[in-house]
């Protein structure tokens, strides 16, 4: 093996390789650097012993203290719930009106309600309560079953046409499918209903429809079509339609009504959660 070349300036050997005329100095590393490397290896082995480290065929090395990130998460969640207990106790003790008029409680309820809504309600009612075809808009000021806090809480708690014994129920007769009215009559009453919210319709149809309305619809929907909250009958004289406001959609709903279902949340989420999300829904934009 020949003597390696020494660089003239530094006195250090070169590695012996030359790439495109460029040589590399083989400067020795300081020994402390190697000892630090050994120390990190020892530290790593210690880490493997103390913490979960190596997977096996159907398990893994558990470490000495039973640490797991699941366990850490559960401990943090429990600590958070414990910290929130101050607030959730106050919410449990207060009535909805009391919560809504207390600045601190309403802020907590709003933030909690927002999270509860996003997880439980938004799939049907939309992220900001903007609704979807067949699912009511919660951000407006039109309410099928009442928009005050107590009514909202009852709706959430017991649901609509749900399996809960205290559920809210209403049933619109199947005027077309059960042959209570024939097609011409349905067409006329649909025209009359559309005229209630300002649409221009044929005068004859409107007059005939008015008579039919008084006989068949006013009992639930009100004389002027203003709706009745006790029956959950929508107001027909506004521009908000749950199943569509064009003529064909109104005719279809009279002919074979769709009846929406809302689950009952009692037992699925806790009582103070129901209160918080009631406050949140009330304050979305149209609470009464």
């Amino acid at each position: 093996m020949s003597e390696k070349e020494r660089d003239a300036v530094t006195g250090t050997e070169t590695t012996g390789h030359v790439w495109d005329g460029i040589k590399e100095l083989n400067t020795p590393l300081p020994k402390w650097w190697v000892y630090v490397l050994y120390a990190t290896i020892v530290w790593a082995i210690g880490y493997w012993v103390v913490y979960p480290a190596w997977p096996g065929i159907s398990g893994y090395t558990r470490g000495m203290f039973g640490y797991s990130s699941h366990g850490e998460y559960h401990a943090e969640a429990a600590a958070a719930a414990e910290a929130q207990k101050v607030w959730t106790d106050r919410i449990a003790a207060a009535s909805l009106d009391q919560i809504n008029s207390d600045a601190e409680l309403v802020e907590f309820a709003q933030n909690g309600g927002r999270a509860i809504f996003a997880e439980n309600c938004a799939p049907c009612h939309g992220a900001g309560g903007q609704g979807a075809p067949g699912f009511p808009v919660l951000a407006d000021d039109s309410w099928l079953w009442g928009g005050d806090l107590a009514a909202i809480e009852q709706t959430i708690r017991f649901g609509i046409r749900s399996t809960h014994p205290d559920t809210r129920v209403s049933e619109m007769p199947r005027f077309g499918a059960d042959q209570v009215l024939d097609d011409a009559q349905i067409s006329d009453v649909a025209d009359y209903v559309l005229s209630l919210s300002g649409t221009e319709v044929d005068a004859g149809a409107k007059a005939r429809g008015a008579t039919l309305f008084v006989e068949n619809c006013a009992a639930c929907h009100g004389e002027q079509g203003q709706g009745m909250i006790e029956f959950g009958a929508p107001a027909l004289n506004d521009t908000i339609w749950q199943y569509g406001g064009d003529r064909d959609a109104v005719i279809a709903q009279i002919h074979l009504p769709k009846q929406g279902v809302m689950p009952a949340w009692e037992g699925r989420i806790s009582d103070d959660w129901i209160k918080m999300v009631s406050i949140y829904v009330h304050n979305l934009g149209g609470g009464q």
Partner: protein, 468 residues
């Protein structure tokens, strides 16, 4: 047959010798000034009123505020820190291009604390020859006593250093009392121990190994010099050929360097400056002091090793008079220009900070809601940052559409009250008759005005509608 060399090198311990001179004096002054600032600044007080910390320099992590005398920085203004760092970088580039590695040699924390630790070592164990002798001696009671005393002194300084660090993040008198009565938090003890440990290790044990192996700064310093930067230089044209000298030597036919080796013995990193500027030379100038002391003794002119620029030294080597161009050059002027631009920008921005900051966010889901009477409603989140110490009242107004009105959820009327030094969040529902909006997006203006001071903040927003 070549012998195999070890892949790893033993650390060669450096025993710098004590020297007196101009640069040693400057180093002591800089060290004393910087350490005084570091240890004493957290104790300065600044009265900010009853509910605020009274420490002049404080970074309050828990309260999300930074205090610098009369300036209070909120988290969303962290760009001031960026500005400071940029100023620091440009300042370093400027100073390096003018005066070489003065950062490394005089002001770097590693240099300052290592210098302090070496002086403590000198006080306890003696100067260079005494220390070398002590290390070679077998262990005795005296050696044990000296070594223990030195390490205890080092640890005490390290503890004070670590403690001072955390005093920038906590109220100084409180946290000092807590540390010594065992009441401080784990974080305080942990960080104090961490910084004490690293100070002790880096200044006591690692010393020049940090400069040579760990720090990136020496490795690109050479990119920041040019031929006009002042560097610690050995005037080889005058000093070579070197040789030992006798009393009364004639220096006319030989170099002035008498190879006394003092420049090597005083060097804190252990290099020989006569090999030229190198990575490990931190530019502290102690070799200048050393050589000058010898030159004076033997009656030769000073500055055989000196702070000088390469171009000036080359001129002197040719026998010409150098024309110094150290400070005013395109490079330095550009650095000064950028530095001033950033500094002035920061100062102006700080002076023009408002005490009222508003964020207005329109709801995106839903964009708009149709109400029972046909009106269109939009929801907005209004966040009002009150940067004054006292609670303030603000009036909210909106305009831009005929018949536009609004209500605040949970509030009666249009005046809100925000607590001092905090952010108030409000939900605003604006409604307009459908007939007044014809586009999908209509511009509206929202104005928030401080009722008392009349300071106002105006924001443009979009009112969404169904369009035609």
């Amino acid at each position: 047959m070549a012998e195999s060399r070890s892949l790893y090198a033993e650390q060669i311990k450096v025993y710098p010798q004590r020297i007196f001179g101009r640069f040693r004096f400057i180093k002591w002054v800089v060290l004393a000034t910087l350490l005084s600032i570091y240890y004493l600044a957290p104790w300065l007080r600044w009265d900010r009123g009853p509910n605020a910390p009274d420490q002049a320099l404080l970074i309050d992590m828990g309260g999300r505020r930074a205090y610098f005398f009369w300036i209070e920085i909120w988290p969303q203004e962290v760009y001031y820190l960026t500005g400071l760092l940029i100023l620091g970088a440009i300042g370093l580039f400027l100073v390096t291009s003018v005066a070489g590695r003065v950062w490394c040699g005089f002001t770097c924390p590693q240099t300052v604390w290592t210098d302090l630790y070496m002086q403590v070592e000198r006080w306890i164990e003696g100067d260079r020859n005494a220390r070398i002798k002590l290390d070679k001696e077998p262990w005795s009671l005296r050696k044990l006593w000296l070594k223990v005393a030195k390490h205890v002194a080092w640890l005490a300084i390290a503890f004070a250093t670590g403690g001072a660090w955390i005093m920038y993040f906590n109220d100084a008198p409180t946290v000092v009392r807590e540390i010594f009565t065992g009441q401080a938090s784990t974080a305080v003890y942990g960080f104090t121990a961490l910084f004490a440990g690293t100070t002790y290790l880096l200044a006591g044990w690692a010393r020049e190994q940090v400069c040579i192996y760990m720090c990136p700064w020496p490795r690109f310093q050479s990119a920041m010099f040019d031929e006009h930067s002042l560097l610690v230089t050995y005037a080889g044209w005058r000093g070579e050929p070197r040789a030992h000298a006798k009393r009364g030597e004639d220096f006319s036919n030989r170099g002035h360097c008498i190879d006394c080796g003092l420049c090597v013995r005083v060097c804190p990193t252990g290099i020989d400056i006569r090999d030229g500027q190198q990575l490990a030379c931190i530019g502290c100038g102690l070799c200048v002091d050393a050589c000058n002391s010898v030159m004076t003794k033997i009656g030769l002119p000073a500055d055989l090793i000196t702070y000088d620029s390469l171009s000036d030294q080359a001129a002197l080597a040719r026998g010409e008079q150098p024309v110094p161009r150290h400070i005013i050059r395109p490079r330095t002027l550009i650095y000064i220009g950028v530095f001033l631009a950033v500094a002035i920008g920061m100062a102006v921005s700080l002076a023009m900070r408002s005490t009222l900051d508003v964020t207005l966010l329109a709801d995106r889901a839903p964009l708009f809601v149709k109400l029972a009477n046909g009106d269109i409603q939009n929801g907005y989140s209004v966040k009002i940052s009150n940067k004054l110490r006292e609670p303030q009242e603000y009036q909210i107004r909106i305009e831009g559409i005929d018949g536009l009105s609004f209500k605040l959820v949970g509030h009666e009327g249009d005046i809100v009250r925000v607590a001092g030094d905090s952010v108030g969040t409000y939900r605003m529902l604006a409604r307009a008759p459908k007939s007044a909006i014809s586009e999908r997006s209509t511009s509206i203006g929202v104005t928030i005005q401080n009722v008392e001071s009349k300071e106002e903040s105006r924001h443009d927003a979009i009112f969404s509608g169904p369009g035609r």
